[in-house]
Structures are given as C-alpha cells and as structure tokens.
Amino acid sequence: MSTSNAMGPLSDGVVGAPKTGAKGDTLLRVEHLTMRFGGLIAVDKLSFQARQGDITALIGPNGAGKTTVFNCITGFYKPSEGRIGLAHGLPTVWDDIDALTDSGHRSMTTAEGALYLLERMPDYQVTQLARVARTFQNIRLFPGMTLLENLLVAQHNKLMLASGYTLLGVFGVPSYRRAERYSIDKARQWLDRVGLLHRADDPAGDLPYGDQRRLEIARAMCTDPVLLCLDEPAAGLNPRESADLNELLLSIRDDFGMSILLIEHDMSVVMEISDHVIVLDYGVKISDGAPEEVRNDPKVIAAYLGVQDDEVEKVEAEVGL
C-alpha cells in the first residue's frame, strides 16, 4: 500500500500519463497541411481527423507523401502551411483552437485539458509535452544499448525530473531510486508484453528484425503517449510476425485505449485492424472513411493500379477483379 502511494505522483499528474478524452472524441485534427520542398509539393492541403481510441491508417502508393505527413505531425518537419491540433482531455478544448492560433503560443492548458499546435513545436516537445510517440520506417533503436536501457531512455524526461536534473541523482537520493525502480518495472512490463523479457539484458542490435520492430513499439509506448504513430510497422515482417503485430496493436488499443496512427503498405494489416482509413496520392487525400468504404472506392483502386479513374473498370476487367 505504501509503495503504491509513493509511486502515485509518477503515475498521474504532470509527469505521468496525460489526461485523455473519451473514446470517439477528436484527438488529432490536421487542417490544410501543405509541405513544399523547393518546387515539389509533397503534401497538398491535406485535412483529416483521428479519433480517440481508434486505429487510423494512412495509406497510399509509394511517394504519396505519407511519411512527410508523419514527419510534420511529429515535428521533424516544419509544415509550409496548415495547422495540426492535438487535444488532451475533454473535447470542449477544441473551441479554443482559433484563439490559441491567434495568440501565437504553442499550447494552452485549461481545466478541461490541454490543446497543442504541433506545427509550432520542436520534435522533442511533440513527444515530451503533446505526448505523440513515433517509430520509424527503418528501425531506429539504440543498437549498442540493452533492451532495458532502450526503454529507460524512453522515460528520460520523467527520470530527469526525478533525478533533480542530475543534481540529486548524483547523490543517489531515495526518491530518485524509487523513480528508477518504477521505470524499470514499467520497462519490464512492456518487455513482457512484446515477448522479449528473456532478452532484457541483451543489446538491441542483436535482436532479429521482427523483434526489433516490436521493441521499437514498446519503446514508443514507454513515453506515455496519447497518440502512437507507427511508420510501416509491418514492413519486412513475415506473415506470422505480421499477424502477431496485428494482435499487439489491437491489444494496445483495447487495453490502454491508445489511439494509433499508422502508415502501412500491407493491406491485410490495414483492412484487418484499422477503424478509419485515409488514402493519399500525390500528396492529396483521395479517400477517407471506414476500411470497407475505402476498399471499394474506384479512386483508390485507380491510384493503386496506377491508372486514370475512368480506366478503372477496363483494367479491372483485364486483370479479372
């Protein structure tokens, strides 16, 4: 009982998991997002929303601008135009978004929750404050550090605070030791969840590819996110690993009420697990809706087959669809 009390301040409040809205509330709102690289328009006036507790998939052919959208949301790119809003807490915070935009601030906190304008925040703050975690298309683990260390780096800000920005930590104060134990415990739980607990003390670079993917997801989850962005999590996985991944993502959604935004090429993953699909082609949204709707949209089929809209039926007939 006493230990759970001691850990209380870590698990909620400022440093722990942030307030989240109810399932179905709008969590992320992307409006007129445009990204230009010189003369090239990678993303053109894209608008979409992601809801709390949903798995939202962003799909499209190669070069459609999916990863660019991701990089804009997570702060790695500064969008040329547009607004990316993210809400913590009650949906009423959205009423203040225009006021926040005009005020020139990055975020605002009210009694009902908080609102963040991600396009104004540097990449690390998007994770630290707005609680958007991400993974990468080409896995980016810390290969020379153990699995456990990888997951502890993900809890950096929380531990930094607990160590009194290093000053108290150098002297090994008990409150820091407690915080570290709590973080190790959290890491242990996530390792267990992704089935890698037996390899906790091995370097991450030694893991097989599929395990590295799962570890990267566990690491992102250790940052206590409200939105988890996965860039092609099924790339390079065999059908079995892909099925395991589906299961993991669904369990993260259902057990934690986590909202997931994912880019995916693998249609079996997209159609099976997503609640909401957005299709991009040449930086423009061509379809938006439930998986079944999107699957039957002629525009989507045309984009994937690489033909004009009016030729779809002809091509479908040729390939026997």
């Binding site: 690390y124 810390f142 456990l148 260390e149 003390d201 670079g205 690491r219």
Partner: protein, 454 residues
C-alpha cells in the same frame, strides 16, 4: 601439389609488388625529408646537401620489411585471428583484479618510489611519471565524456585546459585566492566556455563539428598570445602561487611544511602532495563519470551517440544533452588546467597547442571510446612512453653521442598508434558495460556500439 605451388608463386609475386609499391611511397616521402639536408657552412650560408646512401638504405629497409611482413607475418596473423574467437578465461580473471590492483598501486606509488629510489631519485619518478601521467588520465577521462559517451568529436579540448590554467593563474596572482577556492572556480569557468562553444556548434555533426572545435582551440590560444595586457602574451605568466598544505607552504622557511612537521626540507614533499591532489581529482572524475552514466543524463549521452534522431523522437532534448556533455567535460578539463598551473608555477600559450588536443583525443581513441580503464591504460602507455624515451640513454652508446632519443618521440608515438589500430581497431577496451540490468550484466560487443556522428 602443383596447384599449391602456383598459388604460393602468385602470393610471392603479389607480395613483391606490394613491397615495391610501399618502397615507392617511402621514396616519395623520404626524398624531401631524408634525401636532402640543409647545412649552414662556415660562412653562415645555407647549403643543400644530398644523402643518397641513407635514403636508399631506408627505402630498401621498407621494401624488405614489407616483403617479410606479407610473406611470413600476415598469413600467421590471419590464422591466429581465426583461432582467437573466444577470449581466454585468464583474461577475465585479470580483468576482475586489475582495477583494485591498479587503484592500490597508484595510492602507494610515491611510497614505493621513495623506498626504492631514495629522496633524490624519487622526485623525477613522482613528478614526470606520476603527476604527468595522472594529468593526462584526468584529461582523457574528461574528454571521454564528450567523445566516448556523447559521441561528439572535440578536437579543441585543450582550450578548456587553457581556460582552467589561466583562470587559476590570473585570479591567484591578482587577488591571492587560494588553490582550493580557485579549483572549483576554474572548473565553472571552463564549463561556461564549454557551453559557449557548445551553442554555435550544436547543429554541426561529425567532421564539421571536429573542424569547428579545432578552430575554437586555436582561437583561445591565439587570444592568449595576442591579448598581451591580460595574459602577458608569449612570455606567459610566471610566479603563480603554489598550493599549500592546508595553509602551510612547502618552503624551506621556519613556517614551511618540513619545519612544521620536524622533517628535513626537501622538494619531494610538495611533489608528493601534488601527486595526491591530482590523484584525488582523477578519482573524482572517474567517480562522477561512473555515476553520471547510470543517471538519465548519462544514458541520454550514450543514446545520442547511438542515434540522435531516435533520441528526439523519445522526447530527449538533444540540445541540452549535448550542452551538458560539453560543459561537464570542459569542467574536468578546467580542473586539470588549474592543477597544471599550480604545479608548474608558470604557464604560457606554448603549453596549449593543438598537439595537446591531439594527444588527449589519441588517448581516448586508443583506450577505447567510453571505457575508463582503457583510457587510463592508454594515458600510461602514451605519456609514460614519451617520458621513458628521455631515460633511454643507453641508446647513445649504440647510435653515437649525438643521438637524442626524445627526437624520435613522435615517430615512435605514431608507430605505436598504427600498431594498436591494426590489432585493436576500437581501442584497448572496446566493449561496453550496460548501465542497468534485470538479471545479469552482459558485456556488449564493440560491433554493436555506435561511434557517434557528431
């Protein structure tokens, strides 16, 4: 059987060609360096002389040496590489006892030297070997934070050493503050300059970072030379107050250390005292570094070395993380600098040239980036080796009276570096110890550990 001989024949041919290329390269190198000699004749004119026999002897030596290496040594080495996959068990036993033994040794070292070499001979051994090496161990450990842990290649580390030294020298001379007050002050000063350097170079990576830090080191030195009013320029600062033993000076007078404790006056007491001061400082550096590695900040440094983009995606403020590495590394450089000024009693910009930075970087790289033990061993080998060169007087009997072994210091230095890099490309101790573990601490192979890209 026949096939084997043809393989051997082609091997020999390749070896000869290889040796010929090496000889050609050395000819090109040695032609201006050895082939020509400038001599001042009796009328004080500079004349150009040639030394063809010496040149060709050297080229021939390179040819023969290279040929022998590729014919005999190289195949054997390749063979040994295949067998030496697993480290022998006795290496692990040595590893376990090495650190306590080394710590014990450095603590009793002055006593050991005193009892073997006597009062007269001990001075040189404690000063030239003990203190000198420990200064570099400390500098190596300080730079190890920046280069080894955070993976930021800093070629201007000597600048912080200089800031520490000049802070102590100027403040002690102007205001008469004591060593113990100025030591932390010098550290803070150097740390401040570390942050100052850190800010503009944060966006640079790899080679670009190295170049800019190198330039910073040179700027500090040039400022020290040219700001004559403040630093006394090339002439340097002399008569810097020496540290006292808790207020008791190490002088021959009545209130001196020797007289107070009823001992016969000898300069050795001061030297031994300084030895223990730098030893304590070095231990402090090691202790703090070990502690920091296990804290979030240290883990963030290593994560930064492994992958900076991933760090930012996890909410780590990489700007602050780099700045802390720069400032803490610089702080230890500053401590070492102020100790250096106090020990020498005289400093000038000559002591803070680029070659010092290069030596410290070489110590860190040879020792194995990130490894405390490796860096200490490398410092002993590199600095101790240079000092040993001065002692090799018997070489004069072989090569003649005019032979000065210290002149060949850099040559041997370079040679040793090449040898170590060939056999241990990631340094003496290239493995990494995890900072935290659930069940057991497993050593991580160097193949997986990143080297950092700035």
């Amino acid at each position: 059987m026949k096939q084997e001989t043809t393989v051997k024949g082609s091997n020999a041919l390749a070896a000869v060609r290889d040796a010929a290329i090496s000889a050609l390269i050395s000819l090109g190198l040695f032609l201006p360096l050895v082939g020509f000699e400038t001599i001042v004749n009796i009328r004080n004119e500079l004349t150009l002389d040639t030394r063809w026999p010496l040149l060709f002897t050297m080229v021939a030596l390179v040819f023969v040496g290279r040929l022998a290496y590729s014919l005999f040594a190289a195949p054997r080495l390749a063979q040994r590489k295949q067998h030496a996959a697993a480290a022998p068990a006795w290496l692990g036993t040595i590893g376990k006892w090495f650190v306590p033994f080394a710590i014990g040794f450095v603590i009793v070292y002055p006593v050991l030297v005193l009892s073997t070499a006597g009062f007269g001979g001990a001075l040189k051994w404690v000063d030239n070997f003990g203190i000198q090496i420990l200064i570099y161990v400390m500098l190596g450990w300080g730079l190890n934070i920046v280069v080894g842990l955070a993976g930021l290649l800093d070629l201007g580390y000597v600048a912080f050493y200089a800031v520490g030294a000049y802070s102590y020298a100027l403040l002690a001379k102007e205001f008469g503050f004591s060593f113990w007050l100025l030591l932390p002050l010098a550290g803070i000063m150097a740390s401040f300059w570390g942050v100052l350097l850190g800010f503009p170079v944060l966006r640079l990576r790899g080679d670009y970072l190295a170049i800019v830090t190198l330039a910073f080191g040179e700027i500090i030195r040039v400022v020290l030379i040219n700001w004559v009013d403040f630093t006394n320029g090339y002439a340097g600062i002399s008569g810097i107050p020496r540290p006292t033993f808790f207020g008791i000076p190490f002088t021959a007078g009545d209130d001196g250390f020797a007289a107070t404790f009823g001992l016969e006056f000898s300069p050795i007491y001061r030297t031994i005292f300084l030895y223990y001061v730098i030893l304590a400082l070095a231990f402090l550096t090691a202790f703090v570094t070990v502690r920091l590695r296990r804290l979030p900040v240290g883990r963030a440094w290593e994560a930064l070395r492994e992958d900076e983009v991933a760090c930012r995606s996890l909410g780590v403020n990489t700007t602050n993380t780099k700045l802390t590495a720069f400032s803490i590394g610089a702080m230890f450089g500053g401590f070492a600098g102020s100790f250096f000024a106090a020990r020498q009693g005289f400093i000038s910009p000559e002591s803070f040239t680029f070659i010092e930075s290069a030596t410290i970087v070489a110590i860190v790289v040879l020792g194995g980036m990130g490894s405390q033990i490796g860096v200490a061993v490398a410092a002993v080998v590199m600095i101790g080796g240079t000092e040993i060169m001065r002692e090799l007087n018997f070489l004069r009997q072989i090569f003649g009276e005019s032979f000065d072994p210290t002149q060949y210091r850099m040559l041997i230095f370079g040679f040793a570096m090449v040898v170590i890099m060939v056999f241990r490309p990631r340094g003496f101790v290239s493995t990494r110890q995890p900072t935290v573990f659930l069940k057991e601490r497993k050593t991580i192979s160097s193949d997986l550990v990143g080297e950092g890209h700035g």
